[in-house]
Symmetry: C2
Subunit: 238 residues, 2 copies
DNA sequence: TTGCTCCTCACGTCACGTGAGGTGGC
DNA sequence: TTGCTCCTCACGTCACGTGAGGTGGC
């Protein structure tokens, strides 16, 4: 009542080669061999294989699975809860990418298709920068804030930002004193808009600051330079 | 105004080794070299790198990216729409796994934890079998049907199935004639329940039949054997 | 006797990581 | 002169795929 590799492969949906591989890793040594050297797998081996495949499906590397098979109380549940969280995070990351790209693709319908490729490239570059500075959870918070604003709200916020940045740059270029009430008003609007994005989380705020301080590409794309931030700071400190 | 590898690595968030690798693949040969052999990257190279990373993020293998960089009209959009679909599918697959495992984990709260590990293993084995027989879309259809039933409805359907299978087995074991009205009634209930699962899609129905015909593990777990199906068929053909 | 399955090497894949050993620029 | 960055091999990783060359079972 034993199985050959081929039979076990068919039952499990794996290839013969994969079963050979599992043997070499010490994961699934067949219970026996025939005189001719053929591998013989028993029902117990089938059960072990199911455990292996369960762990694999949960995202464990094969070499981490071997030690789990010896345990009398298989920690499938512990692994499950840990991997579940990782799977959820991966899922959210995918979803964020899909959402952002979809929204950019949607705008393509309105604008000329000419510069769409450019704006896609820029968006994706900005996303990569964000992903270097923020954790999964923080990225998720941003996504939720954007979702709260809705599509129209998001557009409006974008327009406000670009207008505000342009206005501050203009004052700065004109040499207006940062203590001038006009500049002070702009600076207060700036803080309000920024808070909408970062919330009151100080950790996030300092990360945002660090990101804009270090990433010249981000500075160039947004127009938010260290000089501009210094100008605003002078205005606010007064 | 050129960049060294280290500078480009910092700007892009890649490693120096990755940039070396891209060069060897012909993806991003630096525009120049210093006398000492140092790589020199220009702004144009930075742009090319952004394109490379965008395609990579969309899931393209590196060797498929090289031909796309030469095109005057970068087919970023075409790639985007294709990869978007793939990403969505991947996302749904992840979601299904997470959903199934969550529901099984939820039941763990109620039942003894003793046999939970077993039921998890069995569930995951059954899922693997299904995934060998059905396409992404079909798996998604199943998931949607389950979602429609809701949690309570799903439980009830399960109870009905196990009861029905047990009843048919009992009649078969007792040697009841398949043409007996009691058996005929069971067979009609069977068909109704099955239709709830497969819908009227003939392709899916025949796949389900093939799956139960070939997969002895599935037969053993569910108790739906070829003999039982033959018995029901006789009853329905009358 | 003819297929079919089985066996054991052993190199290939993919996108880099990680030293090893050495040189150039500030 | 001292670090720091740069250079070029070249082997390692991960989970197998894919022949190559040969043998055993029905």
């Amino acid at each position: 009542m034993d199985y050959t590799v081929g039979e076990l492969a068919k039952r499990s949906g794996l290839t013969v080669r994969a079963l050979h591989h599992y043997e070499k890793l010490g994961l699934l040594p067949p219970s026996g061999r025939t005189q001719a050297g053929y591998r013989q797998y028993t029902e117990a081996d089938v059960l072990t294989l199911h455990r292996i495949l369960a762990y694999r499906q949960l995202g464990l590397p094969l070499k981490d699975i071997a030690p789990l098979l010896g345990a009398d109380a298989p920690p499938l549940l512990d692994v499950l809860s840990r991997q579940l969280a990782a799977a959820q995070a991966q899922l959210k990351r995918q979803q964020r990418l899909v959402d952002m790209l979809t929204s950019v693709a949607a705008r393509a319908q309105e604008a000329q298709t000419a510069d769409l490729s450019d704006s896609l490239l820029t968006l994706m570059a900005m996303m990569r920068i964000y992903e270097r500075y923020f954790t999964e959870d923080e990225m998720q918070q941003f996504a939720e804030r954007r979702a709260l604003l809705g599509d129209a709200g998001l557009r409006q916020t974008e327009v406000e930002w670009t207008g505000l940045i342009a206005a501050v740059r203009a004052e700065m270029a004109a040499g207006t004193d940062p203590l001038n009430p006009v500049v002070a008003a702009l600076a207060r609007r700036w803080m309000a808009l920024a808070e909408q994005f970062t919330g009151e989380d100080q950790a996030i705020r300092s990360k945002v600051r660090a990101m804009y301080a270090h990433e010249t590409d981000l500075q160039r794309e947004t127009g938010v330079t260290p000089a501009l931030l210094g100008y605003l700071r002078q205005s606010l400190l007064a």
